[in-house]
């Protein structure tokens, strides 16, 4: 436990200084509310045309605050995965690619404790970003609703809760990429895999199997595929998605314990 505490302190400091974190934090926290409110406003303005208008049609009607938060959940479920994917690619792949990971051998704090701490720190950072983004969206949405004398009622709070949960589920889906980074020892290969998984998710959703594919679940659950697809996401699918993070964390620990030729 002492080793993990030390590792957490060290990894938190390192992550605070990491370029990926410094770039991604403001993007995640500010772009989500800005985009949610902006897209909803655009959908209701009638200014959007062509394919864009069709995509925005779902946001053009209904309670405005609820719509803001539904959009926030949909954006978060993907944005968190992308930001976190880049984060673990840098945090796990880069030190293995440039040999710095070799210095983690022979320490009183075992390398697997460092790896677990790194995964937990990235997870904690993403969770904080999700909370921040949802809180800002709630604030912005409440302000917009008040200015239009529209309500910010229970359905908006329910959508906020779902956005928060979807963001947290998306954060957990990042950890398998730490295992990919460890296996490939390459940040670029990890990012390539991340892009591949996002593309695969689109295909899986297209053929109608998204309800059981963890990488599709958060997005579908927040309504990306429409109300029917959201309703098809049940407790077991959410539980399966939530189980990805601990399983991946355990795999990363085993990988780092067995690591050799570094």
């Amino acid at each position: 436990m002492n080793a993990l505490r030390t590792a957490l302190l060290v990894e938190a400091l390192v992550w605070r200084r990491a370029t990926v974190q410094r770039l991604a934090t403001p993007l995640l926290v500010t772009l989500v509310p800005v985009t949610s409110v902006g897209m909803t406003a655009l959908a209701r303005s009638g200014a959007a045309g062509g394919a864009g208008a069709a995509k925005l049609a779902d946001y053009a009607t209904g309670d405005i605050a609820t719509t803001h938060l539904l959009v926030a959940g949909q954006i978060l479920s993907v944005a968190v995965l992308m930001a976190g994917g880049f984060g673990v690619a840098a945090g796990f792949g880069q030190p293995l690619a440039d040999g710095r990971a070799g210095a983690a051998f022979g320490l009183a704090t075992p390398r697997e404790a460092l790896a677990l701490a790194r995964a937990l720190v990235v997870l904690g950072w993403l969770a904080a970003c999700v909370v921040g983004a949802v809180a800002l969206t709630v604030g912005a949405s409440a302000a917009v609703a008040a200015s239009m004398s529209a309500p910010f009622g229970s359905s908006a709070w329910e959508a906020a809760g779902r956005a928060l949960a979807a963001g947290l589920l998306g954060a957990g889906l990042v950890l398998p990429f730490a295992a990919v980074a460890t296996a490939t020892r390459s940040a670029l290969a990890t990012i390539g895999t991340l892009i591949g998984v996002v593309a695969l998710t689109q295909l899986v959703v297209l053929v109608g199997a998204g309800a059981w594919f963890p990488y599709a679940v958060p997005s579908l659950w927040t309504g990306t595929g429409g109300p029917a697809a959201a309703a098809a996401i049940g407790g077991p699918a959410l539980a399966l998605t939530a189980a990805v993070a601990p399983a991946a964390a355990a795999l990363v620990v085993v990988q780092w314990r067995r690591l050799t030729d570094v």
Binding site: V10, D98, G99, G102, A103, G106, A108, T109, T260
Partner: protein
């Protein structure tokens, strides 16, 4: 007294049994006792760094035995790890942290209790003359200062077994003297130190024993005081090559 650092008949080939794979280590054996400084010299590709990686636990050799303070370095118990330090290739340095932060992190990861960290960091900053860069980010350091920081991170906890790969390769003459004094000081305090180098003059000054490594094995021992060390080293290399050629011909 048991050897603090030991490689016993260690063999390893990168690429396994693939056709054309060349052994990096071909039965390399060495031992370093507490209080002793042993230097490995050899040509590029002789196997020095691979041997040091096996001792640091970074490489599990296919055959043979590596031991640090009596333990397998790949699974070093915490008590032994607290007494071990190494710089083989990249050091325990994060480029985004300052010199002081890196040293504090290294001290904690090497198992120093929080109350002992400040004293240890201050001491090693003085020892390796890093005070002027204490608040500089590691990524902004010159190659030589970065190398001194890497060594500082490996010794901040006062290890009893120390492995350093080419520790003076990027250092100016003053840095070389600082590292030489540090190595001798660690040995005077009972530490076993194993260094690798290309510089015969330097190893002659710092080591108690010099091992000539060639073709993945130790081919002879040189005494640092002996005359014309360079000629003796090349003679050992040529003898080893001749022995190998004879074996292959037979």
């Amino acid at each position: 007294m048991p050897d603090a650092l030991l490689l016993d008949d260690v063999r390893h080939t990168f690429g396994g049994r693939r056709h054309g794979a060349r052994p990096a280590l071909s039965g390399l054996s060495l031992a370093v006792a507490p209080g002793e400084v042993v230097a490995m010299i050899g040509l590029n590709g002789a196997g020095k760094t691979t041997a040091l990686r096996a001792l640091a636990g970074r490489l599990r050799p296919a055959e043979g035995r590596a031991r640090v303070l009596g333990h397998d370095p790949a699974r070093l118990p915490v008590a032994a790890a607290r007494r071990f330090g190494h710089v083989v290739g990249a050091a325990l340095v994060d480029p985004a942290l300052t010199v002081t932060e890196n040293l504090r992190v290294a001290a904690r990861l090497h198992g120093l209790p929080p109350r002992a960290v400040d004293g240890a960091v201050s001491s090693v900053v003085d020892l390796l003359d890093l005070a002027s860069w204490a608040h500089a980010r590691a990524r902004t350091l010159s190659l030589g200062n970065a190398q001194r920081l890497g060594i500082a991170c490996a010794v901040v906890h006062g290890p009893d077994a120390l492995v350093l790969d080419e520790p003076t390769s990027a250092l100016d003459p003053r840095g070389v003297v600082l590292v030489r004094e540090l190595v001798r000081d660690r040995a005077a305090n009972g530490a076993a130190v194993l260094v690798s180098s290309h510089h015969l003059d330097e190893v002659a000054r710092v080591a108690d024993r010099v091992l000539a490594v060639h073709d993945g094995r130790v081919v002879g021992t040189l005494q640092p005081g002996e005359a014309d060390l360079e000629r003796r080293f090349f003679a050992l290399v040529l003898e080893a090559d001749a022995r190998l050629a004879t074996r292959r011909a037979a």
